[in-house]
């Protein structure tokens, strides 16, 4: 057989099988383009130099690795699907007298052509769209200075090498498959393996346990630091659980339904239970794949969208004023006096006048912060290290309270004011009983603990404050001093003023002092969350397309099977509409179960993701709930769209006479 002839046959095959090949090639092109773009971003010099964007390369690099790994799994999966559909055709070639090496050569040519097209067109699309994506990223990052755009040679080489290797592996695998197959088996093609699935009790139990454990971890965690550590454990457990759920648990359930004769032998259950049982076996892995991809998309996109929307909240909680000067004093020398505090304010204003900086809202306050462990209303000073289960307590003297709010605290002896709803009318601190005469709102904007853990402010009388200072001996405590102000002058001037004040700050020598500005926080946060948002949406698109493609192939392969079944049932006395209704409901179920399970996974992950977001000072649960719900609705809409498009293809096959 000549080279030319096999080329002609290969081209013809691609054309004839375009229903299978086209989506495959399009998906390959898409994934090649995505791979190039993400590596282009990861290696772009200009982007790395952007202010506050030290994270972007790291985040993009992470995305690049994820896409690379995903490409391998995804292309192998789709390829095996493609080959399964073509078994019959290949078997026929074999029967008609083509030797396996001839078929091998044709298939080699086909694979070679599609691979080259995928890489070349994919790279072209990648280079073309990288400009657009690049501009989008710059916009998200608030890049003001224009960054030079170019074509990344190293990314092109990386893309060619990675996908060249993947396609080579696919090619070898297909060749091996042909050489191992027997012609009759090929000819029978998709009819192999129609055996009814067996119930696997042990695996079902393991599946349920994995899922329960994954959900359990996620729902029981209240500690952001632990959440990060255990997140991947939970993810792996849920992935394993999902695969087992679809492959064995579902079968066990359906079999139990089948054993119940009064349920099973009803017209509306009879065909759907047995049909589902069959479908589960054929599609369990595909459904699990779709489910996991959907979950990834949902969790990723909702989290990153929430981070982006939550930036303002986070920055506000970390830097409520334009500029904050923080100093830390040794608490053993007693509390700071109100006179000293007022002097400091005057000093700052004086400095501002001198340098011509317009400042307003000058406030300062001091509080004594330390860690406690809390058991109901009993607080005990923690002498060990800070852990995230620690409860932060800030002590403010009554004089300081009056200076800040203008109100008299009205407390004597062991009477105190306390913030926080969870504090009862009386509490014990280090063995001393206190009466909470009044609840106070947060009159102090910066609280200790970075929002990571529970924190309370107690307003106490001067003698009590001194007693607590004594009690704190040996424990880690911090007499914090905060000076904050807003400024309408330029950022440089504001920062210069803050630094100048810090240098001249008097009183007792402080342990350390820091100057932070809201602008600094903002750009750092934008860099981080903007990078994550971009990656979340980018990967979200990749995974959504992947799920759509799997759905498409699944519908087509099911269509060919259902066609025969459809005819037989009609002959045996089922009306046309009954058959249609039955098949429709099964297809709908198969289609929506992954989405529903993904929704459950998303709800299960909610608490864990919420805890992790606290690390970024995102504590707005309402916002997160909204973002999650919105993401789910948007995804469900896309999913439904994919269903209608692919279902059309399916009905075309089934109803074809």
């Amino acid at each position: 057989m000549g080279r030319e002839y096999s080329l002609k046959l290969a081209l013809n095959n691609i054309k004839q099988n375009r229903k299978f090949y086209l989506p495959y090639v399009l998906a390959s092109i898409g994934i090649v383009a995505m791979f190039y773009i993400i590596w282009f971003l990861a290696t772009n010099q200009g982007l790395q130099k952007l202010d506050g964007n030290q994270y972007i390369s790291m985040v993009m690099g992470l995305g690049g690795v994820i896409i690379g790994l995903f490409s391998v799994i995804f292309l192998f999966y789709i390829n095996s699907f493609l080959m399964k559909q073509r078994r019959k055709e290949i078997g026929l070639y074999n029967i008609l007298g083509m030797e396996k090496r001839h078929i091998g050569r044709i298939l080699f040519t086909e694979n070679f052509i599609t691979s080259v097209i995928s890489i070349v067109v994919g790279l072209a699309c990648g280079i073309l769209f990288s400009k657009l994506v690049f501009m989008t990223v710059c916009k998200i990052m608030n890049a003001t200075t224009p960054i030079k755009f170019g074509i990344s040679g190293i990314s092109i080489i990386a893309t060619i090498v990675v996908f060249g290797l993947i396609f080579l592996l696919l090619l070898l695998r297909n060749q091996m498959r042909i050489h191992l197959a027997k012609p009759i088996e090929l000819l029978k093609g998709s009819n192999i393996g129609e055996r009814e699935p067996k119930t696997k009790i042990v695996l079902s139990i393991i599946g349920v346990i994995c899922l329960a454990a994954g959900y359990g971890i996620s729902l029981s965690i209240h500690d952001p630091l632990k959440a990060i550590v255990l997140f991947f454990v939970a993810v792996v457990l849920v992935i394993v659980g999902t695969y087992l759920l679809f492959t064995t648990v579902s079968i066990a359930i359906l079999k139990a339904l089948k054993r119940n004769k009064n349920y099973y032998y009803k017209p509306q259950h009879f065909t759907s239970v047995s049909g589902m049982l069959y479908r589960m076996k054929q599609n369990a892995v595909g459904m699990a794949n779709i489910c996991i991809l959907s979950t990834m998309v949902l969790v990723m996109v909702s989290t990153t969208v929430c981070m982006q929307f939550g930036v303002k909240d986070a920055v506000n909680s970390m830097a409520p004023e334009d500029s904050v000067i923080t100093a830390s004093y040794d608490s053993s020398r007693g509390m700071l006096s109100a006179t000293w505090m007022d002097q400091q304010k005057d000093k700052l204003k004086e400095l501002a006048d001198k340098s011509g900086t317009n400042i307003s809202d000058v406030t300062n306050y001091s509080l004594l912060a330390f860690n406690t462990s809390r058991d109901g209303s009993v607080f005990t000073i923690k002498r060990g290290e800070y852990t995230s289960s620690s409860v932060q307590v800030g002590i403010v003297t009554a004089a300081e309270y009056k200076r800040l709010t203008g109100k008299d605290a009205g407390i004597t002896g062991n009477q105190i004011l306390a913030s926080g709803d969870s504090v009862a009318n009386s509490l014990t601190l280090e063995g001393n009983k206190y009466t909470v005469v009044n609840k106070v709102d947060d009159f102090i904007t910066v609280k200790p603990g970075f929002g990571l853990s529970e924190s309370h402010i107690f307003v106490v009388s001067q003698p009590v404050a001194e007693r607590i200072v004594r009690e704190l001996k040996g424990a880690y405590s911090d007499l914090s001093y905060y000076m904050m102000f807003n400024s309408s002058s330029s950022e440089e001037k504001t920062t210069a003023l803050a630094s100048e004040y810090e240098n001249t700050m008097d009183g007792r020598t402080y342990k350390y002092a820091t100057v932070t500005s809201r602008a600094g926080y903002e750009s750092e946060y934008n860099g981080l969350t903007g990078g994550f948002l971009f990656l979340g949406i980018f990967l979200g698109i990749v995974f959504t397309f992947a799920a759509a493609l799997i759905i498409y192939y699944k519908q087509i392969s099911e269509g060919y099977y259902d066609k025969d079944k459809f005819e037989i049932m009609q002959k045996v006395g089922m009306s046309n509409s009954e058959v249609k209704r039955s098949i429709r409901s099964q297809v709908l179920m198969v289609f929506y179960i992954p989405l529903i399970v993904a929704g459950c996974h998303m709800m299960g992950a909610f608490n864990m993701v919420r805890q992790m977001l606290r690390l970024f000072n995102l504590t707005n649960v309402g916002l997160f709930l909204g973002c999650t719900a919105l993401t789910f609705v948007a995804f469900a809409a896309i999913y439904a769209l994919v269903y209608f498009v692919t279902a059309k293809e399916y009905y075309k096959i089934v109803q074809h006479e």
Partner: protein, 255 residues
């Protein structure tokens, strides 16, 4: 009493764009008595399958009528037709048409489940039929686990379980080896002896020789018929062969 009357049946197929007209049945008239066992023979393209599809109410004739127990089945509405088919007709196909997703038992139950019977009634109906057909021990197996003969017997059980007026068989021995085919024909004789009316379309002279009467169709018309009367299977076989030879060579048949 005639259970099935076919009067002046005509079927013309028009190709999709209205170009060619193909006359599958030109004028078919015959009747089947209650309890009779009739075989219809003819070459490929003679119109056998078209006739069977019309009798099975899967297709509508261009003109003419089909009366089952006096009811014209060509007039039944699309809505009722499936239920009518389920209640009155039993089908046996060449390629069995068993669903791989069901065990043999569930395949047999399929028409009863569709008719809304409960599990107890179905089990009661199943026992005598499967005992007679000798498939009692393989009921829990799946179609792909049993032989062709066993599959066809399950298909016969499915056709009989609704106690139909008429069993329609389309080349029932077509996919079976000779042993299995003989076995199936014995079963047909047996159920016919119990009073079941059977109408069978076949290519096989041997299969047709088991019937009480054989109709020959050629070019869309009933060309000839033979009654078995007191003939043995072998004598019937010889007579059918002769008729087929004459039919193929275009001569005139006497007697």
């Amino acid at each position: 009493m005639a259970i099935l009357e076919v009067k002046n049946l005509k079927k013309i197929y028009t190709t999709r764009f209205g170009g060619n007209q193909v006359q599958a049945l030109s004028n078919v008239t015959f009747s089947v008595e209650d309890g009779e066992y009739v075989a219809i023979m003819g070459e490929s393209g003679s119109g056998k399958t078209t006739l069977l599809n019309i009798l099975a109410s899967l297709d509508k004739p261009t003109s003419g009528e089909v009366l089952l127990n006096g009811r014209n089945i060509t007039q039944i509405s699309e809505k009722e037709i499936s239920a009518f088919r389920r209640d009155n007709l039993g089908f046996v196909f060449q390629d069995f048409n068993l669903l791989d997703t069901f065990s043999l038992k569930d395949n047999i139950f399929l028409p009863l489940v569709l008719a809304g019977q409960n599990a107890g009634e179905m089990e009661a109906a199943l026992a005598p039929i499967t005992a007679k057909l000798g498939i009692k021990d393989i009921l829990e197996k799946y179609p792909y686990e049993v032989s062709g003969g066993q599959k066809q017997r399950a298909a016969v059980a499915r056709a009989l379980i609704t106690k139909p007026q008429l069993v329609l068989a389309d080349e029932p021995t077509g996919a079976l080896d000779s042993n299995a085919a003989d076995g199936l024909m014995d079963i047909f004789n047996e159920i016919n002896n119990d009073g079941q009316t059977i109408l069978m379309v076949t290519h096989s002279t041997k299969a047709a020789s088991h019937a009480e009467r054989v109709l020959f169709i050629k070019d869309g018309e009933v060309f000839h018929q033979i009654y078995k009367a007191s003939m043995t299977n072998e004598e019937m076989f010889a007579k059918i062969s002769d008729t087929l030879t004459v039919l193929a060579t275009g001569g005139v048949v006497n007697g």
